[in-house]
Symmetry: C2
Subunit: 210 residues, 2 copies
């Protein structure tokens, strides 16, 4: 590979990482090329597909952070606390970083590394779930598939609410967690209730996809 191509590949990688983090993995490829200061033809030359570009940055963008959270969740003394921490933290990551959200829940089957990250996440989820279930604090009929769907939904909510009601997703997660633990503890909600206007705004963003 020639030196200039190398440089361009790097510029594209950087631009992609930036834009993925700002706007998610579905950002137009031409826009990535524009930010990299390069023709979109060059992007196609060097990477060919969006998936290849994703695989190029997914490790930096998401893998490490997700692994960290999972690891920390397993280090909690109380299994339920670990589980709750995991759910909240993953949702928080998703809320603050659209790239993470799309990695966890966006399906790009052609992006091998992304799929690998996804599998790791599910494996971690399973371990955290089973630990809490063994401790008797998490309902036994909850599966890691359920959890990944929760992550997917929460990511959509968080993105829709980012402008009008940041943190709204925390209420949803709180309700859900209270339904998942075996004890009848109803924790206080972490965020104030939404106004009707906020709710309408969020609802609007929920169906109009970015």
């Amino acid at each position: 590979m020639r030196a200039d191509a190398q440089r361009n590949a790097e510029k594209l990688r950087a631009a992609a990482a930036e834009l993925f983090q700002e706007r998610g993995l579905k950002v137009p490829l031409k826009e990535i090329a524009r930010r990299a200061g390069v023709s979109h033809g060059t992007l196609y030359n060097l990477y060919g597909t969006r998936e290849a570009l994703i695989d190029e940055v997914v490790t930096d963008l998401a893998a490490g952070r997700l692994d960290e959270v999972a690891e920390h969740a397993l280090s909690f003394g109380d299994a339920w606390d670990g589980f709750a921490y995991y759910v909240e933290k993953v949702c928080e990551l998703q809320a603050t970083d659209p790239a993470v959200a799309d990695v966890v829940s966006g399906r790009y089957p052609r992006a091998e590394l992304l799929m690998a990250v996804c599998d790791r996440a599910q494996t971690a989820s399973t371990r955290i779930i089973e630990r809490a279930q063994r401790a008797g604090s998490l309902r036994p009929d909850f599966t890691s598939e359920d959890l990944l769907l929760v992550f997917g939904s929460s990511a959509l909510l968080a993105r829709a609410a980012a402008g009008a009601a940041p943190g709204a997703w925390r209420r949803g997660v709180a309700f859900l967690l209270d339904g998942l633990r075996t004890e009848a503890v109803r924790g206080p909600l972490p965020v104030a209730p939404l106004t009707t206007q906020q709710m309408y705004d969020v609802l609007g963003g929920l169906t109009a996809n970015p």
Copy 2:
């Protein structure tokens, strides 16, 4: 209005109702015209905007059914049962009819009648919620804004899961309801857990908007 225009308006109304029910309120206007056997120019002549067309059919498509469910929910002897019935039934309506889903959660602020239906739904929700809270069976920090967001999320999930795992939304609703009631009752789940493959399929449909 001339007789032929009248007929075309009716054909368009019918086609819109059909397609809205099949594919939701975002269906391309040109497709509605096609199904009506009419040029899309005519659609623009007679209705001008998507919102006008929506207002034309929203009452038939959604208003009555939503009102019915709300009314029935209030007729339950047990306030919690009424609340749970309401949540499940509205989600079920949404799952079986994309038009209802978009009416409840899709934001079309320019469609006056749709907004009216929406307001009615929120009013009904408030009454059902407050009744259950007065009875002490629903946690007091749950608001009608929360509920409408639940409806919005569930609608997305149901649509995404329609092909791969119909009924998957019921698990989510069940978890949530268990987190909303004050007693520590954990009902049995209404549907079998998803396979990993199903979960992946649903997750895919969740981000790829129809």
